[in-house]
């Protein structure tokens, strides 16, 4: 198993953990945390491919990670703001109670 594959495995496991958390936990905040974890797994992938890739001088993977960190920041801010607004409205932060939006 090469180091690259190690990185990929780690990121895959991280992704799976994040997905599991986001899917199973009731609390909306934890769903958000899971999404953050998935994002970070993706970042790890980028870094790994940049490092072991054919031409690391382009720094492309790094750039993508930097931008994705920025986007994750915005995403977390807005997501948590949404959660707080929802909490104000429904007096709960549990995802399985927020199901008014259905057919």
């Amino acid at each position: 198993m090469t180091p690259l594959q190690g990185c990929l495995l780690v990121s895959a496991l991280l992704f799976a953990i994040g997905l599991a958390g986001a899917v199973t936990r009731r609390n909306a905040i934890l769903a958000l945390v899971g999404i953050e974890l998935m994002l970070n797994a993706a970042n790890l992938n980028f870094i790994a491919f940049w490092r072991y890739g054919p031409n690391p001088e382009a720094l492309s993977g790094m750039m993508v990670v930097i931008f994705s960190i920025a986007i994750a920041a915005a995403e977390a801010a807005v997501g948590l703001a949404l959660i707080i607004a929802i909490y104000r409205h429904y007096k709960t932060a549990n995802l399985d109670e927020m199901k008014n939006l259905k057919g």
Partner: protein
């Protein structure tokens, strides 16, 4: 596969698992911090110094705080005594397991992955800055716009509808209320950090 890498990876994964599985949300947030710090360490391992520090600055310094605040604001920092898992969680576990299986399988049997580590590239802050200002300048501007929009949007969403209570109750009030007043401030700060850091 250096031992350092192994240790860091294991710590990270365990922290992540804890973050997803602990009952108390604050513990979850703290272990998330550990996981993110571990990821930063992994980046350093992979010679991505700037990204590592940015990761710490952003995630540990801001996102974690943000999450913690959200936990407190939604009054869910006490250990819950009812179920913490949503109905149908088994399906979720199964799905995520399937995802991990497919991803891992793909990672393991995809041919043509470089075998050994190339020499460490020249990834100084100067290069990164040059690239950001030359080749990636458009994405940079877009990101700036996005962050501004997110900042304003977050403030608008989390703004209190009813006017805050006046009088003495405003000075020494329940933490949540004080936090709600300072809450948009956190997002602000966090956005400006990005601006300053990059």
């Amino acid at each position: 596969m250096s031992p350092a890498f192994l240790i860091i990876a294991i710590v990270t994964l365990f922290a992540a698992a804890a973050a997803m599985s602990l009952r108390n949300l604050v513990h979850c947030a703290l272990s998330l911090v550990v996981a993110l710090a571990g990821l930063a360490a992994l980046y350093l391992q992979l010679d991505a110094q700037f990204v590592g520090f940015a990761q710490i600055l952003v995630y540990v310094g801001a996102v974690a705080i943000l999450i913690v605040f959200a936990v407190l604001l939604t009054r869910s920092d006490a250990t819950p005594n009812q179920a913490i898992l949503a109905p149908g969680w088994i399906a979720g576990i199964a799905v995520s397991a399937g995802v991990f299986a497919t991803l891992g399988w793909a990672a393991l049997n995809s041919p043509g992955l470089p075998k050994q580590m190339p020499p460490a590239p020249e990834a100084t802050v100067k290069n990164i800055g040059d690239l950001l200002m030359t080749r990636y300048v458009l994405p940079l501007e877009v990101i700036g716009l996005l962050l501004t929009a997110a900042l304003i949007g977050a403030v608008i969403i989390a703004m209190k509808e009813e006017t805050p209570k006046s009088g003495g109750s405003r000075r020494e009030s329940a933490p949540s209320e004080k936090l709600e007043r300072t809450d948009p401030a956190l997002r602000d700060c966090y956005e400006a950090k990005k601006g300053g850091g990059v």
